[in-house]
């Protein structure tokens, strides 16, 4: 029996007639209204975003992958064109989306606010969901790279063994053959003590200040691999009188977005938003030392997820240096400071994700304030590694080709040390030049905190200084957070 043959009254849902009573009806509906629930990111309809594109191709000319790889169709196709050609129930996404490194340069280049990276992220997730075999080597490898955080704790339990095993060429060869992880790169070494272990041992914050609080989002890399960066952040912020909180946290999600693992990213983001929102509630601002982590929380979370407080967390998250420049007289504090020889000449690379946040100029300005440091900007090219991208066997060559310009500029600059804020950029810089690479916070620590070792006495001293300063500024910060 067709629907048309059913008695009419039966087939009319019992919803109230619209005349009168509409109000109660609507409010009753609201709770269960399925379309008011934010759709899964993979199912978002981003076709309206294509309205902004007038096809100028600026995004294409700024894409580092398109520049070196003729097979990659570029962001304009990947984003607005592909979306516009889509129908509600089409689910095939072109595989080239996996070649995009998620550097987000297209995003900041577009003069017309096309949500390019949001389009790439959802397309990539849909591709992985619908088109990639869950048993393929590629999928397993990507899942593993994306979930670095899950593997890292194992390695750091036995860091020396892990470093030794991972460094063996047999292991690396196996990595390439079985997982497609390039054997050209040295896997990152694990610290013998993670940042969080150090933090606990140290007894947590040395400064208490309810008017100046930050919640530190350290991310995975500075916890497991470069705790010196995380420690530097703590000491620098304590120097300025901040109370540092280190909330529970998961991976920022950056590697998961880049690998189309949106479900994994969603789980991680949910924890982060919840924990960071609680810290904000306690009066803290969120500070990240890794440019991809801050990027992710500020831009990608609100574009892709809709947890309660996503927007609040995004709006209250800052890059570590940016925050000090806005809330403290950072250059003033740096005047007349000096640093050891290890920092005198440095080749600075601004990570793409800093660029996208408009932060690509700040480091050189800050460095210039320190006596004896000559920091050279090596230009606006992309380092080419883009997180897990350059680790994949099939991307290694592209990644090195993209990095070539940066390597050359580093070579030409009068410096033997590299400087950046992104952990994977720093791996690429080291891999391409052999230089030692530092994080900006490490330099600030050396300049501001006289004994970088952070002995108890020193930290105590700087914190009391900080506290004095802090009181002077507390009202200002107080009004800020209102």
């Amino acid at each position: 029996m067709s629907d048309a043959q059913r008695p009419i009254d039966d087939s009319v849902p019992s919803e109230q007639p619209s005349t009168g009573g509409a109000d109660e009806d609507d409010s009753g509906n609201d709770e269960f209204e399925p379309v008011q629930v934010f759709p899964e990111a993979e199912e978002m309809d981003l076709r309206p975003g294509a309205d902004n594109c007038y096809k100028c191709s600026t995004c294409d000319t700024n894409c580092p992958v398109a520049e070196v790889d003729d097979e990659f169709p570029g962001p304009k196709f990947q984003g607005p064109e592909q979306w516009r050609l889509k129908r509600q129930d089409d689910h095939d996404i072109d595989e080239s989306v996996m070649k995009c490194s998620n550097c987000m340069r297209c995003d900041s280049a577009c003069p017309s606010s096309v949500p390019l990276s949001q389009m790439h992220n959802t397309a990539r997730a849909e591709y992985v969901e619908e088109n990639m075999s869950k048993f393929s080597r590629e999928y397993l490898r990507n899942r593993m790279l994306a979930n670095y955080r899950r593997l890292a704790p194992l390695a750091s339990m036995f860091p020396r063994t892990a470093n030794f095993v991972m460094g063996l060429s047999v292991t690396k060869w196996l990595g390439e053959k079985t997982l497609g992880i390039t054997s050209e790169r040295d896997l990152p070494t694990f610290a013998t003590e993670t940042f969080r272990e150090w933090w606990t041992d140290r007894g947590g914050a040395k400064v208490q200040n309810e008017n100046k609080r930050i919640a530190y989002f350290h991310g995975c890399y500075s916890n497991y691999n470069t705790p010196e960066v995380a420690k530097a952040l703590v000491r620098v912020y304590e120097h300025f009188g901040y109370e540092v909180m280190v909330p529970e946290q998961s991976c920022s999600g950056t590697p998961m977005f880049a690998n189309g693992m949106l479900e994994d990213a969603r789980r991680a983001a949910e924890t982060n938003v919840r924990e960071l929102a609680a810290a904000i509630e306690d009066g803290a601002d969120v500070i990240a030392s890794c440019s991809s982590c801050s990027m992710s929380i500020r831009q990608e979370y609100p574009e892709l997820f809709d947890f309660e407080d996503t927007e609040t967390v995004a709006a209250n998250t800052w890059d570590a240096v940016e925050y000090l420049r806005v809330h403290e007289d950072l250059t003033g504090a740096l005047e007349n400071t000096t640093v050891d020889d290890e920092f005198d000449d440095m080749a600075y690379h601004a990570p793409c994700h800093s660029r996208n946040q408009g932060l690509d100029g700040q480091t050189i300005e800050v460095m210039d304030a320190i006596d004896g440091i000559d920091a050279h900007d090596v230009g606006d090219s992309c380092s080419g590694i883009s997180g897990t991208y350059g680790w994949k066997e099939e991307n290694y060559e592209t990644s090195m080709k993209i990095g070539e310009e940066m390597f050359e500029h580093m070579d030409e600059a009068e410096a033997e040390t590299g400087l950046t804020e992104c952990p994977t950029c720093s791996m690429q810089m080291e891999h391409g030049t052999g230089y030692e690479i530092k994080h900006t916070l490490e330099v600030l620590e050396a300049a501001l905190v006289s004994d970088g070792g952070g002995s108890h006495a020193e930290t105590g001293a700087s914190s009391s200084l900080g506290e004095a300063e802090g009181e002077g500024k507390s009202t200002e910060t107080g009004t800020e957070s209102d």
Binding site: S2, D3, A4, Q5, I8, S11, V12, P13, E15, P17, S18, T19, A22, D26, N29, F32, E33, P34, V35, P39, D45, R47, P48, A50, D51, N52, C53, Y54, K55, C56, P73, K76, F77, E81, Q82, W83, R84, L85, K86, R87, Q88, D89, D90, D92, I93, D94, E95, S96, S112
Partner: protein
């Protein structure tokens, strides 16, 4: 007297092409003449709705029944031109419940499958529907590409031996006493496929029988033989959105009114329409307020339309007709049924019938009835097979579903190309030549453009309607010149330039009604791009005077 052809069909819209195909399939020798491109009349300027009949289920049940029958046939024989979108009649709080009930009963009476959805269910189907839409009736409306369907009919007619002449305007009816025996046409560029710049000619084509299927222009043709065919042309506006806000046809569930329907069409969604009588189907005002009204009124149903980008607007004229003496005042009340006027019975002039009225969805049934009539006159006994025989491109629909071949193209491009070409996809897209995308907005490749040029000569608007190239958001800014270069070396430089100008002009015409926001930026960018890369703001090479190239230095 020996005739050039048995039947001469005037007008290359859906009606004319449908009749030509039907006659040719019945073995009748037929010639079709059209003054412009195929679909240049109303057929190329309609809304693209494949009626389920739902729109007529209350007011005109005979039409509604015919619509659902033909709707089902076209899904079968023209699957590559039809998208089975489904349709909704949505009710807003201020719309009457009584009418919704009537609509539902009407659908049931006419055999149109109809289900009522709650507002929430309707929003699950179409997430951008307004929050206060209270209920909806779901019906099997569809979207149809009139260009492709019309061209497929003409192509099949030719395969069955018909002669199809485009750019051949009827300038006179040949009448001797009380008999019409043919027409005089003016070929814009000589007979056959169009080539710009070839000199125009005139030709007398004689026929045993003439079928006047010139729609809104039927009165003008009739007048050439002093016959009075009182067509009442009525204009309607349609506004094209840049992207699809909806993938289902959205109708407003209320008696009648302007701006009450949104039809998803290929990559776009089309808003419509109005109904206003005009004096001359070739010359009527196109006004911005009509466009504004579409957007304002329809955003009550789909609010994001308010802020969304439109890429162009266009107007079409309905070939409405009513028998002398009916005297309906409001054009919206004139019947949508069609009329077959046998001038022998009506005016005592033999040799010709005129067809007026009707709608696109029922073109095949109309064509069948007229062909029956003509066959009776000619004493042909073959019967109609157009309801069973698929059109070229729809012979084997499995290519669209399982195991779609991508011919080395990226997925959305492959999918759209396959959908446009249907079962012709392999013939067209399998090529050893490089096959780059020529039109990026619509994902049209060089092979498809070449195939269209092969069908229609140097006319790039004919290529456009076959492929959709230049119909996307840049409105030709980035692809017209690429399409034009595909004409070379088959055609010389002068022809290529002329064809390019003509196409770009046509694109610009519709874009004039969308010049704000993003489309204004697009137009500015197109202008700058064409000026700086092709001198098209003021190209000395297209001027009358010879350029003295020797005056230029070597650039050193």
């Amino acid at each position: 007297m020996a005739h050039n052809t048995a039947v001469l069909v005037l007008g290359g819209g859906s009606t004319g092409c449908g009749i030509a195909r039907d006659l040719a399939m019945r073995g009748v020798d037929v010639t079709l003449v059209e003054r412009g491109n195929l679909t240049d009349g109303t057929t190329g300027r309609m809304h693209g709705l494949l009626h389920s009949g739902g729109r007529y289920a209350v007011s005109d049940q005979a039409s509604a029944t015919e619509c659902i029958e033909e709707n089902e046939i076209l899904r079968d024989i023209a699957s590559h031109c039809v998208e089975e979108t489904g349709g909704l009649f949505v009710q807003r709080p201020e719309d009457s419940d009584e009418y919704l009930q009537k609509k539902l009963e009407g659908c049931r009476d006419c055999g149109i499958p109809a289900t009522v959805l709650s507002g929430r269910e309707a929003r699950e189907v179409e997430p951008y529907l307004a929050k206060d839409v209270s209920r909806a009736i779901q019906v099997p409306d569809g979207a149809v590409d009139p260009f492709r369907l019309c061209v497929a009919n003409a192509l099949d007619a030719e395969r069955h031996g018909a002669r199809v002449e485009t750019h051949a305007e009827v300038i006179d009816l040949l009448r001797e006493g009380d008999d019409i025996y043919g027409v005089e046409v003016r070929h814009d560029s000589g007979p056959g496929k169009r080539t710009h710049k070839s000199p125009g000619t005139t030709e007398e084509i004689t026929a045993e029988y003439v079928v006047n299927a010139t729609g809104a222009w039927a009165g003008q043709i009739g007048a050439m033989a002093d016959l009075d065919v009182a067509v009442r042309p009525s204009k309607g506006v349609m506004t094209i959105m840049n992207v699809r806000q909806v993938d289902t046809v959205i109708n407003r569930c209320r008696p009648k009114g302007d701006a009450d329907i949104i039809v998803p069409h290929e990559t776009t969604a089309i808003l419509g329409t109005t109904d206003e009588e005009v004096a001359d189907p070739d010359d009527y005002p196109e006004e911005q307020w009509e466009v504004d009204m579409m957007i304002d009124t329809l955003s009550e149903l789909v609010p994001i339309i308010e802020e969304a980008r439109t890429i162009r607007s266009f107007w079409g004229v309905r070939p409405l007709y009513e028998p002398p003496g009916t005297g309906t005042q409001d054009p919206t009340d004139i019947t949508r049924d069609f009329f077959l006027l046998d001038h022998d019975e009506r005016d005592g002039v033999s040799g010709m019938s005129s067809i007026v009225g009707g709608k696109f969805t029922t073109y095949r049934a109309m064509a069948e009835e007229i062909t029956d009539h003509v066959c009776e006159k000619l004493g042909v006994s073959a019967t109609c097979a157009t309801a069973e025989e698929p059109l070229p491109g729809s012979e084997d629909i499995s290519v669209l579903e399982e195991g779609m071949d991508n011919f080395g193209l990226r997925s959305p491009v492959a999918r759209r190309s396959n959908q446009r070409l249907g079962s012709r996809a392999a013939d067209v897209l399998e090529t050893d030549e490089p096959n780059p995308v020529v039109c990026q907005c619509e994902g049209v490749t060089r092979a498809e453009v070449q195939d269209a040029i092969g069908q229609s000569g140097s006319d790039l608007n004919a290529v456009r309607i076959r492929t959709r190239a230049s119909m996307g958001n840049c409105q030709g800014g980035f692809c017209c010149q690429n399409m034009a270069t595909e004409l070379h070396p088959r055609y010389d430089e002068e022809t290529v330039r002329e064809a390019l100008d003509e196409l770009f002009q046509e694109r610009w015409k519709g874009e004039r009604h969308a010049l704000w926001g993003e489309q204004l930026s697009q137009a500015m960018l197109n202008y700058a791009l064409h000026a700086t890369t092709m001198n098209r703001d003021n190209d000395p090479a297209s001027g009358a005077t010879q350029i003295d190239y020797a005056q230029f230095d070597g650039g050193a």
